[in-house]
Each structure stands twice: as C-alpha cells, then as structure tokens.
C-alpha cells in the first residue's frame, strides 16, 4: 500500500472515513452475488462534491483507479474494483437538497437512499412519489439511474433514467459538469432541450461519477393498491399486457413465475398496481381494465383475478436470496420486447432445471408496453461453493442467450459486457472508445468495465 495516498485520503475525508485496513478492504471486495472478490487498495467515503473532486485529482496524479459504489445492490459486480484502487462509498453524499412540488422534481445528492427519498416524500410531500425500484431501500438514487434501473412507475413513465431533469457529474479528470437547465443557472426542472447527459448512464461508472440528480416526481394518489391476476398459458401474457397498457391507468405492471412455492409453479402471476384519490376513481379504472379489456379472457376462463384492493407490498428480494437458506442470489436482467416473454420464461425454466436451481423469473413492463425488463434469478447457498458455481454457470448461460433471443442485457457484469460489445455496431463501439479515452485519459474510472478492445 502507498501510505502517501492513504494519508492524502485521510486529509481529504477525515480519518474515520478513509481506510486501508483489511476489514474495510475485505468488506468492499465482496459483491452480494456470485462474483469473485476484488480487493480495493483503499476505501474512502466523501461527504461532499469538493472532497470527491480532490480524491479524483489525487487518483489522476497517482494513476490509481477509482470505483464509485452506491448501495452495492446491482448484484452484478459492477462496483467491484477490478484493478484495485480507491473504492468510493458514495452514501455519505446523501442530502435531499430540494423538492419542488409544483414542478414535481426532487434534487438529491447521488448517495441518497431510495428509502430516504421515499420516506421524505411520504412525510413532507404525500402527493408526490418517485419510481421506487424493487431493490432494498438501501439502494441509492444515483446508483439506480446510473444502471438504467426501473421502479414501480415504470409502466407509464419508463426507466428511472428516463425521469431525469438534470445531472451533476464529476469527470475522471476532476471537472464538475452539469446537464440540463441547471447548467444555465435556471434551476433543475428540465433536461431537454439542452445537450444530453446520456453519456453517464449505463456506462457502469466508467465515464464519471454522478453526484447530483434532479429526479422527476409523479402524482401520488391517496390510495395505492395492488391487484393480482393469474394465467396458465405464458403465451397470453403479452396480450394481457397489451390490453392493460392500452387503458393506461396502471402504475406498475409486473409478471412473475417461480417454482417455489408450489402455488406459483408454472403459473404467471400478474401484479397490476392501481391508484386513485377515491374509491370511485379506483373502481372506474378497474371497470375499464377488468370489465372491458380483460372480460373476454376472464369469461373464456384463461385469466383469473386472484385479488384486488390489496395493500401495496414491496417484494422482499432478501427473502428470495434466502430460499435455500443460503443468503444469496444473483440475476440476469435483460430488456426485451414484451412479445418475447413466453420464450424467455420457458428458457428460464429449462436452464434453472438443468442447474438444479428452482426457477424464478420476473418481468416488468416499461413504458406503454414498449419493452419488458425480464430477469432470471438464481439462488445459491453462500456456504456451499458448488451451489455458487451452479448459479454462476446458469448466469453466464443466461447472459449468452439474451442476445441470441433478441434482447439486451441490463447492467451486465464484465462477462455480459463482452457479449454485448461483440454484437455491437462497430462505429458505436469505436465512438465508445473515443469518448472514454477523451474523458478518462488515464483510464482511472472503474477500469475493466466496458473496455473496448
């Protein structure tokens, strides 16, 4: 270890928030999924953009890698330091700076947790909501948009990264940039029509670190409820989604199928979240969805309404991780046309069975049925290396088939990144390389990820 770097980090962030000790290095070397550990040389947790900037300048000077980490819940190992360096824990940069109720946006530091923003809005702005992902509340706003996450408002409004009014980013060379109306001093209310900031989303933190996000908020109605349908024939799922999204009155539309418990095996449960400011509004929406659009399926006996008006319950992915009493799971996320669901489901069952893992697949509709985020989850027992290996093999096999089936991998780890880049348009790849070299001449920013040969 270079004690000069450590001393500099201590000077920048304070002794309590910098470490070169084995315990911190061990902890931050681990991803929650199946990835092999990758040890950083240092860990630092800055409190401000200024502290972070100083660290980046230090890293450039010392030619040492920087890896930004939010909640660490991607499960894809994207924030593992593949080449050592300084692991930056972004979660101390967690201030909610502004909530503008009229313009419906929240300006937050990137390290704000999903839970903190959710609770803040519920308490102070109950008529506003952000699109809350299914990850545990410790996931961060910045991390989630950086990987093009989706949340419980995905059906009407798209990816969480479609909901940005502005960004503040630190470049690998230390400059602080802003994108959107904030860049011309007009507040944080719109991204368009100014030059785009997409260069920092979906890049795995290789082009810069997001430090502030202006996130669009949406109306939060007084009553938010969950309805559930069930279908036996997977071929029907795209049709049902098409009908429901035509009505355009659903907040979140998710399908899942899993081997355990038996009640869900070889069945497709559709979660349809409805909200309203009154019972009348809710009933109006249900009439349109169930009595009009879906009535033919119900009368034919091919779709069943399991329940309506249930309390909204956030899924506990932690419980999924513990299916084998093993504390672990990882998933391949992908984005596909909705019509692909049946084949993807069948493939998931097949791969899981072959690897002796009870299958678990989920899909979330993005936008007006424009796409589906489809995931295959593979649980493993952390204490059983064989089961970790099984899961890892299943994940790679699944990564391979995503492109084969006409989709794209969501938040891929290095393995998946290589597959995507192999299929990528040559000019696009060349541009990626140009841009990366331009903003990160010393290649310090999360190296090893999205590396174009």
């Amino acid at each position: 270890m270079n004690s000069a770097i450590y001393k500099s980090l201590v000077e920048i962030v304070g002794e309590d928030y910098a470490s070169d000790r084995p315990e911190e290095l061990f902890t931050y070397s681990k991803d929650l999924g199946t990835s092999e550990p990758k040890w950083p040389d240092y860990v630092a947790a800055p409190k401000s953009v200024e502290e972070l900037q100083k660290i980046i300048l230090l890293a450039n000077e010392a030619k040492i890698s920087i890896v930004p980490l939010g909640g660490g819940l991607s499960l894809a190992g994207i924030a593992l330091p593949l080449h050592g360096g300084i692991l930056i824990d972004m979660k101390r940069m967690d201030e909610i700076i502004e909530v503008n109720g009229k313009a419906r946006y929240a300006l937050v530091e990137a390290g704000v947790s999903q839970g903190k923003l959710f609770a803040y809005l519920k308490k102070h702005h109950p008529t506003l909501a952000h699109s809350l992902p299914d990850a545990p509340p410790a996931a961060t706003i910045g991390g989630n948009i950086a990987i093009h996450g989706q949340g419980d408002l995905a059906h009407p409004h798209g990816f969480n990264s479609d909901m940005i009014n502005g960004l503040e980013v630190i470049l690998p060379t230390g400059e602080i940039c802003r994108f959107g109306s904030c860049s011309i001093g007009s507040g944080w209310f719109t991204q368009h029509p100014l030059p785009d900031m997409a260069f920092f989303l979906g890049w795995g933190g290789t082009t810069g670190i997001i430090t502030k996000v202006s996130l669009r908020l949406f109306p939060c109605k007084k009553i938010r409820e969950l309805d559930m349908l069930v279908v036996t024939d997977e071929e029907l799922v795209p049709d049902i989604f098409h009908e429901i999204t035509h009505v355009g009155m659903t907040e979140d539309l998710v399908v899942f199928s899993q081997a355990i418990p038996p009640m869900t095996d070889r069945l497709h449960h559709i979660i349809n979240n409805i909200s309203g400011d009154s019972e009348e509004e809710l009933e109006f929406k249900r009439r349109l969805i169930y009595d009009d659009r879906l009535s033919k399926f119900i009368e034919q006996g091919t779709v069943g309404i399991v329940a309506t008006s249930q309390d909204l319950e956030k899924p506990s992915v932690t419980k999924t991780a513990d299916w084998r009493k093993g504390g672990g799971f990882e998933y391949v996320g992908s984005v596909f046309p909705v019509a692909a669901y049946p084949e993807l489901y069948r493939k998931g069952v097949e791969i899981s069975t072959r690897h002796e893992i009870p299958y678990t697949v989920t899909g979330r509709v993005i936008g007006a049925n424009h796409a589906i985020m489809f995931s295959w989850s593979y649980a493993f027992n952390r204490a059983d290396p064989k089961s970790v290996q099984h899961a890892n093999e299943a994940l790679h096999e699944t990564d391979d088939l995503v492109l084969e089936f006409g989709g794209t991998i969501w938040k891929p780890a290095v393995y998946g990144q290589q597959i995507v880049m192999k299929h990528m348009d040559a000019n696009t790849l060349a541009l990626m390389k140009k841009l990366k070299n331009m903003v990160d001449p010393n290649n310090i920013m999360n190296p090893g990820n999205w590396e174009v040969a």
Binding site: P22, E23, E24, F26, D89, K116, A119, T318, A321
Partner: protein, 391 residues
C-alpha cells in the same frame, strides 16, 4: 488463511444477504438507525458488514486485528437489525455478534477499553473500578433503607450508584417509592454489577459468576420481587438469570409506578408545563417489548404534552451506550455519534424535555445535548425525576 474458530452460529451466519434493511427504521427515513453504521458510515460497521467479517474471521479468511475487534465491539446490541431483518434468522443477529465476542474473549484479544471494563467488573463489582464501599454514597440522607425482608428489592445498578448524573434518577425513584409507602430496600454496598453488559460483551464466565453471586445473595435475603432503575438490569435478571437458577419477579420501575398513581398512593406532580418526547431504551423496548408503561406515566401528567419522535418504539434510535459503550465510548467523537443524532431528533419535535427511562440513556443523551449546544433548549430527564418533580 488461519485456522477455523469454533463458532456457535456456523450454520446460519452465511445467510446474511447484506441487503441493508438493518440500517433503517421502519419508515426508511434514513440509514442511521444502526448506531455503529450511523457513526462510521462504512459498510464494515453495518450489521450485515459485521456479520460477513465475523464469518470471514471464524472461517480463517481474515485474521484478528484491533480494527476487527473494534468493529465487532462497536455494536451496541440495540436490536434494530433484528427488528428490520426480513430473514427468518433475524432473532439471532445480536447473538451472532455476542458469540463472536465470546470467541474473542476466549483468546483474550479484545479492545483495551473492553478489557478494562471487564476487569473492573470482575475486581470491583462495577465497570468504573470504584470501591464497593462507595456504592451506596448516593443514598445518604434519603432515608432509603437496607433490604431486610421488605416486599421489593430496589436494585439500583452500576450507573445509578456511581454516575453523578444517574444518581439523581436513582434518588428520585427511591423518593417516589418512599412517598408511596412501598415496602422496599436496597443492597447498598453489597450490591454488585448485574452482568447485562458483561453478557453482551461476550464474557460468559464473568456473567455466570456475577449471576450466581447475585442470585445467592437475593435468595439468602429472601428476595422475591425486584424493581430495577435500569432496563439493562431488568433485562438480564428477567431473561438470563433463570438459567442460573434465579427466578424472581422482575419489574422495571415504569411498570410499578402506574398503579401507585392510579391507587392514589402517589400524587401527580403539579405545575408542569412542558412538551416532552420520550426515548425508548433498547433494553426496555426492543429487547423486552415494553413501550406502553413509560408513555402511560407521561401521558397522564397534567401540563405535559407528549410528542413522538419519528423514530420511536421499535424504530427508536439507540443512544449508543449499550454493550458497555457508555464506558468504552467506541461510538463517540463525532456529530454522527448516535447520541447526538438522537438529541437532534428530539429537538426537532419542539420538545423542551427529552424523557428517558434508563440511566445509560440519561448520561449519554445529556452529554450529547451539551456537545450539540442545546442546553438552553432541551433538558434530558429520567421519568423518575419528572414524576418526583426533581429539578
């Protein structure tokens, strides 16, 4: 790699997913509901991070170090993680940390402050290392009598006996019991440490020694019922002493006082005019499910408006003093120390008084008020002091 260490929870510690729910209160309002994570904000200090480190240590993946010991001992055993963890092994999260501490105690590899705490308890019957004959100095002039076959033993505890601030609460409770005509006595200089902190620090042998001594003394004196000042004493007497043969009826004082007021044996203090917020002590609340008795006492007072902090009851933020941290101070020295966060939360309610029911919380939070510069705006008072009209 080093050799594997014998560890009681080998079969389950790997099940922690490090999902992070353990950092939050029930309403998710911030990640600072785990006292050690609030203080240090590094993943190694979160409940999940600590469990992964413990697993790595017992499996020989990492070696013991001072830093590892500090991380393991920085847990205050507040049980916020147990409340929030969605996995079915959640009831054992604190036990897993204590078991790791026991393994460290076996090897003698402990933070020096913890060693000092345990040594003082072993040699002097209290963590401060003060003479046993000074234990009863707080009660001089109070008229409180030595225990001799009265109905209740009033067990004061280490802090109530020796800490100058906590002594005021000990006196206030004693005076209330006298006013109510309750038949009670104290052990005075014969009292020794109850062992609650010793247990959470992983020193099973010392706990057994203390428990057996206390149980023998109680039995020899014919003690059947015990009122405790501290929830820590309440917890260990109620939940741990039975396995050493100590079966007594144990009450925290907030469980006894309501009926004294209801029956007219005690009069409510007059002339109160205050907005009060109540801090749930971990060993009364999350450890023993008692959230109502203290609130009943406060709600019934004329001139008192009771207001709740956002993080209350099962989501109460620990004062940071548990597991001996009121002595070892592993979580002090920062504006992110849990006690300082807590008093800021109390201040935000607009309350003038932060009421507590634990001498540990009393000292931790009052110190925090001072460091925060809130003395003019927020007073920390034990419920016994409020009821006794103590200044």
């Amino acid at each position: 790699m080093t050799a594997k260490i014998e560890y009681k929870y080998d079969d389950m510690i790997h099940r922690c997913f490090r999902c992070g729910y353990c950092k939050f209160p029930a309403d998710w309002s911030d990640v600072t509901n785990c006292p050690s994570y609030a203080r240090f904000r590094l993943e190694s200090y979160s409940s999940g991070g600590r469990l992964w480190l413990i697993r790595a240590w017992v499996n020989g993946e990492i070696e013991w170090s001072e830093n590892l010991a500090k991380i393991v001992y920085s847990c205050t055993a507040c049980k916020n993680c147990e409340e929030k963890c969605p996995i079915s092994f959640s009831d054992n999260l604190v036990n897993m940390v204590i078991a790791a501490r026991s393994a460290m105690v076996e090897t003698g590899l402990l933070p020096s402050a913890v060693k000092s705490f345990l040594k003082n308890v072993h040699l002097h019957g209290n963590p401060y290392g003060l003479a046993g004959k000074k234990r009863s100095q707080w009660m001089e002039g109070t008229g409180i009598e030595q225990y001799q076959d009265q109905e209740f033993l009033y067990y004061v505890g280490d802090e109530g006996s020796y800490d100058t601030r906590a002594q005021s609460a000990a006196k206030a409770l004693g005076e209330l019991l006298l006013k109510a005509g309750v038949s009670f006595g104290v052990l005075g200089n014969q009292e020794i440490s109850d062992g609650n902190e010793v247990e959470t620090l992983g020193e099973d042998g010392l706990l057994e020694e203390l428990a057996k001594k206390n149980i023998k003394q109680f039995k020899d004196l014919g003690v059947k019922k015990v009122i405790t000042l501290s929830p820590h004493s309440f917890n260990v007497f109620k939940n741990s002493y039975p396995k050493f043969g100590g079966e007594f009826a144990i009450f925290h004082y907030t469980q006894i006082l309501p009926q004294l007021f209801q029956s007219g044996k005690l009069e409510k203090p007059a002339g109160l005019n205050m907005k009060v917020t109540y801090h749930d002590p971990c060993f009364l609340g999350r450890w023993n499910g008692e959230y109502n008795a203290p609130r009943t006492l406060l709600k019934d007072l004329d001139g008192v408006e009771l207001t709740e902090m956002g993080q209350n009851k099962k989501s109460s933020l620990c004062c940071g003093g548990g597991s001996g941290n009121f002595y070892t101070d592993l979580l002090g020295g920062s504006e992110d120390s849990p006690a300082r966060i807590r008093v800021r939360q109390a201040h935000e309610t607009g309350a003038q008084v932060l009421a507590v029911a634990c001498p540990n919380c009393l000292t931790m939070l009052e110190d925090a008020v001072k460091v925060e510069g809130l003395e003019e705006k927020l007073q920390v008072k034990d419920i016994s002091e409020i009821l006794n009209g103590s200044e």
